[in-house]
Point group: C2
Chain length 228, copies 2
DNA sequence: GCGATGCTTCGGTTACGATCGAAGTATGAA
DNA sequence: TTCATACTTCGATCGTAACCGAAGCATCGC
C-alpha cells in the first residue's frame, strides 16, 4: 500500500480553505505579509501565523524578514505550477467557488500567474506568437524560433540574457479560465515585465488582475493580432 | 480573496491518507473493488465506502457495477496526471513516505503510470528514443519524427491508428522516482501494451510495479540502449 | 427458498485541527 | 524610555470528519 511519495501531506496543506486562499493570493507573485494573508484567508493573524508556519514547514512557502514585517512568497515556481494546475483541474470539474464575482471579468481578461501573463490576453499572446512563427508548438511543448528571437529584440527583449538562466525559456502553462495554454518560463516573465515597464499595464494592489491602459491595450492588440 | 477555482476541495479530497493511498493505487490503471481499496487504504470497508463516495462526488473517481462488485477507476487521465504531478512535487520536497520499503526497488525500476511505463525503464526508454532520433525533444515538449514512426512500425506499432484518437500522441510525464521525464500519451500506452503482449513483462496483482522476464529484460535493453 | 459475499447506511465515539483571546517577543517610531 | 506595530506562542474551545460495529440491501451460488 505505501507506495511512492506522500501526496496526502501536500493535499492536506492545500485542503484547508484559508490556506488555499493564501496560496492562490501568493500565486499573484507578490510577496505578502502575514497580516495581509490573514485578510485574504478571512482569519485572524494568530490563525494565519500557524497556517503559514505549516505551509513553510511543508516547503510550499518561503519567508523573508524585513523590519518587523515578514514577507511570504511561494517557495519556487514549482509550487506556482502545482497551484495553477490544480486550479485548471478544479475549473475543469466545475469546482468553481461560486457565482462569478464582480472582479471575475477583469481576472479572466488578464491576470498574473506567478510572474507571467495569464487569462484571455495571455492565451491570445501565445496564439499570436505561434501564428506569426515566433514560437514553434511541437507536440505539447514550445520552442522559440530564430524569427521569434529577432522579433523580440525589436520590442526590447534580449533573449540571450534569458538563456543564461537555468530556468526554461518557454514553458506552456494551462490557463484555468481559458482552458488553453499560455506562455510561462523566463520568456513569459520577460514579456510581462516589458509591458509593465512600458506602462502598457499595471498590477493592482489587491488582486491578481492586470489592468491595461487604453493606450497599452491598443498596442498590445496591435502587437499580438489574432488570425495571423 | 475569493479568486479563481476552488482548489481547497480537491486538496482536502487528496489530503486524507487513506484516500491518497487509494488514489495512488488507482494510478496503476487497474480497476479495483471497494474491498481491495479498503485494503490499500488500511481501513475497513465501511470507511472505505464513505471515502469512495466522496471521491466520486468530487469527480475524481468513476465506478462501474459488475455483479455484486463495484469497480472503481480514476475518472479520467487528467486525474492521473494530477496525482502523478503531485507525487513528483512531493518527491522533490522530500515528502517521501518513510524509509524505502521492500517493494520500492521494483517500483523504481519499472512501474505503470496510469497506462504507460514509468520508473528507471520508462525514463531510459524515452532517453533512448530521443538519442536515436525517433523523438524530438523541443523545448519541454515531445514530437515523433518520421524515423520514429518507421522504427515503431518495425516493432509492431501502427502510429496511424494512434493519431486518429483525440488523445495526444506524445506527452512527457515527470517521473517521481527518477525526477526526469518519461513518455506518456497514446504512444506511451501503445509501447507498454506492446511489451505486455509480447510477454516481455507482466503487471503484478497487488502493486504498480511491472516485472520484466529475463528474456524481456534482454530485449528491452537491446531495443533501448543508453549512450546512443 | 437459503446462506454467503460485497457493499452501503446508520449511530455513536473519538481524535485532530482550525479557531480565537490573551499573553509574549521583536522591531520601529517618538 | 515608552508606546505602537507586526508577529508568534500558549491555552482552551469547538466542529468536523474519520473511524468502526451493527444492521440493512443487493447479488450470486446453491
Amino acid at each position: 500500500m505505501k507506495e511512492g511519495p506522500d501526496i496526502a501531506q501536500i493535499g492536506a496543506l492545500i485542503g484547508d480553505p484559508a490556506r488555499a486562499n493564501m496560496l492562490a493570493a501568493l500565486t499573484g507573485g507578490r510577496a505578502l505579509t502575514a497580516t495581509e494573508l490573514a485578510g485574504v484567508g478571512g482569519i485572524t493573524v494568530q490563525t494565519a501565523s500557524t497556517h503559514l508556519a505549516k505551509l513553510e514547514a511543508g516547503g510550499l512557502l518561503a519567508q523573508r524578514k524585513q523590519g518587523r514585517h515578514r514577507y511570504f512568497t511561494l517557495a519556487d515556481e514549482a509550487v506556482a505550477r502545482l497551484i495553477e494546475s490544480m486550479m485548471g483541474f478544479a475549473a475543469g470539474r466545475g469546482h468553481l467557488r461560486h457565482r462569478p464575482g464582480p472582479k471575475e471579468p477583469a481576472l479572466r481578461k488578464a491576470r498574473i500567474c506567478y510572474d507571467h501573463l495569464a487569462g484571455d490576453y495571455g492565451v491570445r499572446m501565445l496564439d499570436s506568437l505561434i501564428a506569426s512563427g515566433a514560437i514553434d508548438a511541437v507536440g505539447d511543448g514550445l520552442a522559440l524560433t530564430e524569427k521569434g528571437e529577432s522579433d523580440l529584440k525589436c520590442i526590447g527583449i534580449d533573449v540571450g540574457n534569458l538563456r543564461s538562466s537555468r530556468r526554461p525559456l518557454c514553458r506552456s502553462c494551462l490557463d484555468w479560465s481559458e482552458r488553453r495554454a499560455h506562455l510561462a518560463g523566463s520568456l513569459g516573465k520577460a514579456l510581462l515585465s516589458n509591458f509593465l515597464d512600458k506602462g502598457w499595464a499595471r498590477r493592482t494592489a489587491e488582486s491578481r488582475s492586470i489592468l491595461f491602459s487604453p493606450e497599452g491595450d491598443r498596442q498590445f492588440l496591435k502587437l499580438f493580432p489574432v488570425d495571423g
